[in-house]
Symmetry: C3
Subunit: 300 residues, 3 copies
Amino acid sequence: QSNVQIYGLLDLGIVKRSNDTAKLDRGSNNRLGFRGTEDLGNGLSATFHLQTRFNPDTGTQERAAAFWQGESTVGLASKTWGGLRLGRAATPMNQKNWKFEPWESSGFNASLNAFQLGNFTFSADGTNDAAVGSANFIRIPNAVFYNSPTLNGISLAVAGQVEKEANARGRNRGFSLNYDSGPIALMLAGEQNTDRDRIGFVAASYTIGSARVMGSFTRIDQREIDDESSYVVGATYDVGPGMLRVGFGRDIDLDVSRISTGYLHPLSKRTKLYLDGWRHRTPVSATTYNGIALGVNHSF
Amino acid sequence: QSNVQIYGLLDLGIVKRSNDTAKLDRGSNNRLGFRGTEDLGNGLSATFHLQTRFNPDTGTQERAAAFWQGESTVGLASKTWGGLRLGRAATPMNQKNWKFEPWESSGFNASLNAFQLGNFTFSADGTNDAAVGSANFIRIPNAVFYNSPTLNGISLAVAGQVEKEANARGRNRGFSLNYDSGPIALMLAGEQNTDRDRIGFVAASYTIGSARVMGSFTRIDQREIDDESSYVVGATYDVGPGMLRVGFGRDIDLDVSRISTGYLHPLSKRTKLYLDGWRHRTPVSATTYNGIALGVNHSF
Amino acid sequence: QSNVQIYGLLDLGIVKRSNDTAKLDRGSNNRLGFRGTEDLGNGLSATFHLQTRFNPDTGTQERAAAFWQGESTVGLASKTWGGLRLGRAATPMNQKNWKFEPWESSGFNASLNAFQLGNFTFSADGTNDAAVGSANFIRIPNAVFYNSPTLNGISLAVAGQVEKEANARGRNRGFSLNYDSGPIALMLAGEQNTDRDRIGFVAASYTIGSARVMGSFTRIDQREIDDESSYVVGATYDVGPGMLRVGFGRDIDLDVSRISTGYLHPLSKRTKLYLDGWRHRTPVSATTYNGIALGVNHSF
């Protein structure tokens, strides 16, 4: 038993958008994971990580084609040299971009994740298989993942596909360079997917007392559709044990924007209630709507 | 690890019906679950519950479309005010009707569950999606579930869908009122599914020494097909550590009936052998058959 | 928690065959299992075993149709009389043939498993459902499995289907007789699948100091295609904590052969690195290729 750690997160809330029925929906990606670390001596260890994702509102898997949708890797980690994993996992950019978004880039409700990753603009050709994440910037199958140790606050993550998949233009690959020390955090990341679309991402955050301000800028070069630039600015403010969140994201080229705010109320370290509101504007299609979400987030 | 409790149940037996080949089949719904409770103080706690169902005779999921077929919920529970869960779970009626059926409403072999729930008569229109339980009386997705504390033996369960599903006539909702004190247990439940079919259920049981007698009556009003009334009467009798079971169920309108008997032999609290026999009569189609099942039931 | 043991194995490596792209691929069948034993007293115990299989390179299930692809059984075991399991599990032959193959019959990379089981030659008619293993010699659904205790090094395994499946010519059934004492291990097995194809298998191994030599001979009688004979010879040699492996397999009738060698380097009892090379010859189609694999194998 001691070889396996079981963990998870469940998040559901009541969500209402203007012009839509009330829904029970996720506020984050729900997960159940199994992971472990074996000490091999001399600072070396073996690691494994399996994580399934699901929709607790209906009991279904997040993606039918990939039961271990969150991660499925085996690897070796050295305190001196860093860690190497084989399998399918989040890209370097996706491993840390959530630190620069007030809703931790959940992708649901008030989250401004779409203005960080551009993941709502998949390219339109046949190699785009969202089920295995082959043509987006979120996860890479059939890949090697390297994460450096942190030296003077600096760390590096690199990943690349071993295998060129059928119908792919190229191998998915990416890097992320991070600095995190005292009040300052900085991030620079770049990736290329199997369509040879490219994404560049730069982000920064600064902590002053109970407040943290953050921002990111993303540039996506896409082969099948027009290029896009987008940005996110946001802030969090601790109010006693709770936290106020506010943020604004905008895709400059698509002229889509969202302004969000919310309050996170912890019942414990592992259990939180949230109340979020947002306004999403798409002038070109005149589909502006408001949203509100009240939910519970529990990790174990 | 202490945050997660893993539990489960496996039940397989050799089943033979007249005019059919012998089969290896379930005697109950096989399950593996992960659940936990976090104490938040002041009698409040956070809860989660994930349960997958499967057919161990073939290794397949019980329903391909819903991995967490048994339950997927997150919630808060108060000792004073009761518990609230969000997600997908058994309806109020289905949470307790099994207490009034000698085979605990397993739905397999000798069980008389079909004469309690009418779940063998799904309505025939397009909103009936058994995979997510949208048009039956067993489970509700996209719902809120409330369970009161028990006061003087009385408890109440209520559930309702937040979301009106595509193609549904209405939201699934239901209640169950229960009394359980000393030798007497009573239950009254009513539900309406997404087709606006309605079910009413009343049940009682009485314990005298080693014997327990029980009965239930069910009325189903269905929009697409004729209404139905059905009932179950049954008894259990403790014989040393074992238990004799006998019961009779009848759907008055369909003129279907079943008489069942069996013996449950515990090898431990968690492991039991069972031998059951039953006779199922459908006069209208002249498809009377006899069945016999010998199996093992193991929980962990 | 003490009722459930969680275990698993992950194995991924970089694999390159001549005339093919480099790939990230399994070197063994990846698995996560839940199992338990309950002591019932008097040498009797209840057992359950659930094992899912998956491809960590893509996060997908090994076979979409059977989540518990590895095993799903419940049973009773006696120290005196042996164990009985109900459900779906490996056939008697497949439970132990891996002891006579240097790569433990993984079926991947350098493994010579195909020359033991002939599992690359499914018969071609409609009853062949690889998803549930109905027409091969690897797993049996809807079956009873008996494993005797070991007496004087001798043990017997027998399994057979309770249920004759739809479209099947017959019930899957098989046996395996094993002797394992001191330096000598012997095995004799025979099985018949649902197509009434038959397989006979005889194997032996001998240990001399750090070396172990082994061999097996297989004869398959198939109804839809020509019969086949095949054999495997192999040896392992302990080099300090590591192990050299060498083997040769040949299907005499198809004129397919493979010669393999490799080195297994343990980082711990649970974590190993491997480097394997092999040459696969199919003269009739002139598709000879070489392969090389470098990977990590971690169990927990």
